[in-house]
Each structure stands twice: as C-alpha cells, then as structure tokens.
C-alpha cells in the first residue's frame, strides 16, 4: 500500500513538473480573471488520474480485496451554454484477493467501470475550479485464479465526485477528488453472503491531470 502511495505521489510530481513546463512554454499572457463563467463558451474536459481505493463496510471488497491503484479517464463537455457538464467515464481498479477463505480461490481482480456522468462546473476563479459530478455505469470485476482461469462479477456502479482543480492556464490543470462509489453486484451467494457479495463501497482519493479544450 505504501509502495502504491509512493508511486502515486511520484506520478503526481511528474504531472506537476510536466504542467509547469507547459506553462513556461506558454507565450500568450493570461487573460485577467473574470471570476465568472463565460456562458457562450463551449468546452470539453479530458481527465486522467490515478486513485488509491479505500474500501469500507461489511462486503467482499473491504474484507477480502486489497486495493492497489485505479486508473481513471473521463471526457466531459458542457451542455448548451450552461456550466452543466455531461460525459463518459472509464476506470480500472486493480485489486488482489487477500482472503481466499471468504472470497473463493482467485488472486487478482480488475474492476472495469464504464459509465456516464453529469455534473456542475463552478468557475468561482479561473485558477481554482470546482466540479461536482455524479455518475452511473456498468461494472465488471474480472477475476483471475492462480491457474489463470477467468470469471467475472458484474453489476452497476454509482458514484459521487466533488473535485477541486488548479489550472495553470486555460488549458491545463491538476485536480484532486475524493470519490464516493458504490457497486451493486448481482453475485448469487447463499444466505447472509448475498449482501456480502452484493455490494462494495469505496472512497477513491484521486488526483491527476485535467485538460480543457
């Protein structure tokens, strides 16, 4: 876990360095901040981030899986001329099975999530911005046994993401978002285990790069 945090931190500084390099290459001076959303502006946002998943609750993810890292991609665009954004989201959550007795004999689980999201973009300042999004999508836990036999647990995922970002210029920024995510799975299991395998809760502490175009 500490190793993953180290990797994520290292990547964060790499992204920051890359961003600063781009700022240095920027020739045009920044427009003075209007502190207002420009209503006639159409724009898109591409986000790539890494997150450290933290599972909680009495479910298979918290009691058996050890989250490593999650890669996240989002593509958003504002709707009409409003600060409302809609988009698509793709993420892969890499986990390992640390409790075979409770979960069954598999060692790796990659949870792939594809979904749509909608949100509200707050332009209180041009450098610091807030984005609140909620999403729903299909999730598939693709599991591998030690003999490399594959099977999956499938369902629906919903999530809520408050995001704060810092933009070096109009195009490029860094963001941080603590995502609250709940997966509803259709895994059949006897008795009390139906609930245990039926859902998973996570807090994803995500940070990454954000490009407006």
């Amino acid at each position: 876990m500490f190793l993953n945090i180290k990797k994520i931190t290292c990547l964060f500084f790499c992204l920051a360095f890359f961003s600063l390099q781009l700022i240095a290459q920027e020739n045009q001076p920044e427009k003075p901040s209007t502190h207002k959303f420009e209503k006639d502006d159409h724009y898109g946002i591409f986000k790539f981030g890494l997150s450290a998943p933290i599972a909680f609750g009495n479910n298979f993810a918290n009691k058996g899986l050890q989250g490593k890292v999650s890669t996240n991609f989002s593509l958003l665009a504002n709707l009409f001329e409003l600060p409302i954004v809609i988009g698509i989201h793709y993420s892969v959550l890499y986990q390992s099975n640390e409790n075979i007795t409770k979960l069954g004999n598999y060692n790796r689980s990659n949870a792939i999530l594809v979904g749509g999201l909608a949100g509200y973009h707050f332009f209180e300042r041009n450098d610091f911005r807030l984005l609140l999004t909620a999403g729903v999508g299909a999730v598939s836990y693709n599991n591998n046994t030690p003999d490399d036999i594959r099977f999956s647990d499938n369902g629906v995922s919903v999530w809520l993401t408050p995001e704060v970002s810092y933009h070096f210029n109009k195009t490029l920024g860094l963001y941080f978002s603590p995502t609250l995510r709940r997966d509803f799975l259709r895994t059949k299991a006897p008795g009390d285990l139906e609930d245990f395998f039926g859902s998973a809760n996570y807090v994803n502490l995500e940070f990454g790069i954000r490009v407006l175009f």
Partner: protein
C-alpha cells in the same frame, strides 16, 4: 523452409489455444461449504484443511477451527465434476511418512448431476475422520527350501469417499472396506517390503499359501501410528 516454419508456427498457435481449454468458472456465483470434523472418540479436530476442486483446479479452501467447524466460500464450476477434499494432503500413494495431521482423508463427490448449478451451499454436517496409521510390512524368506508364497493383504483405506446429494452418504466399497495388495514370491524374488497407510484401531488381514497348501489368514492389529509386521517363511 519458410512454409515449414509457418506450419510449425500455426501448429503452436493451434495447440496453445487448444491447451487453453480449461474449466469454466460460473460468473456472478459463490457457494459455501460448511461442516464439522470429529475423531472416532467424538472430539473436534482442528487445523484440518478442506478444499473444493474441479478437474484439479482449486476453487476454494478453508480450515477447521478449534471446535472442528469449517465454513468457506468457493467458486462454482459449470462442470459437474465438483469435489470436496478433506485433508487432501493425506491422499496419495500408499507409502508416505506420517505428518502432523495424523488423520485420514475424505473425498466428497457431488451427485447433484444436472442440478449442480442450483447448489449454493454444501452443508456437510458432522464427519468422523478416523486416525490414520502406517504398517511397515515385510516378507522375508529364511528357509533354504524352494518355496513359492502366494499372499495378499486386505486393509482399510485412509481415504473415505462420500457422495453428496442434500447430505453426505458413504460410497459403498470405499471406506471402511479396503483394498487388497497381492503378489507371488519365489526364489527369484523371495522378499517383499512396503509401508501401507491404513486406519488406526483396525486390523489388516494377511492371507498366504505356501506352494499348493491351503491358504491361511493372520489378522494384524493396527494399534499404533507406526506398526511393524515381519513374516518369515
């Protein structure tokens, strides 16, 4: 040359795909396996491993607690060849040394047949796991006479087999009935020695005949974990 290389390459690809023909694990499904292990005196047995397998692929595993209870989650295969092994480490060839788990093994076969995918829990109840024992068995020729010895050994297996269909039932002929080992010894091959695994507090029946004489039987009591019997003729 290129054609030959290409054909070998295509064969390799074909066999690599063919070898990937593995079992199918059912998605969106878990089953549980639970029960209790006791010894022949009714005492709970702890630290005994239990696991589920289909075609040698392990799908789940657990271990008994201090009260002999076990409960674990297993994956489910679409194959109906679903086996539950108790103390599988102790299943194997008839010769091996005693380890810390001095108990016999058991294999439970699923007899749900076509209905196997509808099983979501295997409630095995209380299973008696007898103690295993070793018999170091030796036949030595001490006589100078030209004799032929025909012999057989009938002993209890240390791996009982059960069938499962709502509850477990012992399969006739597996345990406590045993298997027989026999041989004919002559001047060319006069001696025999082997260590057999069997059950403690049972007897092993040794039957022999010398030449054309009538056969005789000797019951060898298995009282200890390691037993020795030497027959001289």
């Amino acid at each position: 040359m290129k054609l030959k290389f290409l054909s070998v390459f295509l064969c390799l690809i074909f066999f690599s795909f063919y070898s990937c023909e593995e079992i199918n694990i059912e998605s969106d499904k878990r089953v549980t396996v639970s029960g209790r292990l006791i010894d022949s005196q009714g005492k709970p047995i702890s630290n005994i491993p239990i696991n589920t397998e289909v075609e040698s692929y392990r799908l789940g595993e657990g271990i008994t607690d201090e009260n002999g209870n076990f409960l674990f989650t297993s994956l489910q295969s679409e194959s109906n060849d679903f086996l539950i092994y108790i103390n599988k480490e102790n299943i194997g060839p008839s010769t091996f040394s005693l380890d810390k788990a001095n108990y016999s093994a058991a294999t439970i076969l699923n007899f749900q047949e076509d209905d196997i995918l509808n099983v979501d829990q295997y409630t095995l109840g209380t299973i008696i796991l007898p103690e295993k024992a070793l018999l170091d068995f030796t036949i030595q020729k001490t006589s100078a006479e030209d004799l032929e010895l025909t012999w057989s050994l009938s002993l209890f297996m240390a791996n009982c087999q059960y069938s499962y269909k709502n509850n477990i039932v012992k399969i006739e002929g597996s345990c406590p009935q045993g298997f027989e080992k026999g041989n004919i010894l002559s001047n060319e091959n006069p001696n025999f020695s082997q260590t057999f695994t069997t059950l403690k507090n049972k007897t092993v029946m040794f039957t022999y005949s010398l030449g054309n004489s009538a056969s005789q039987s000797i019951n060898i009591p298995i009282t200890d974990q390691l037993n020795t019997y030497v027959f001289e003729y």
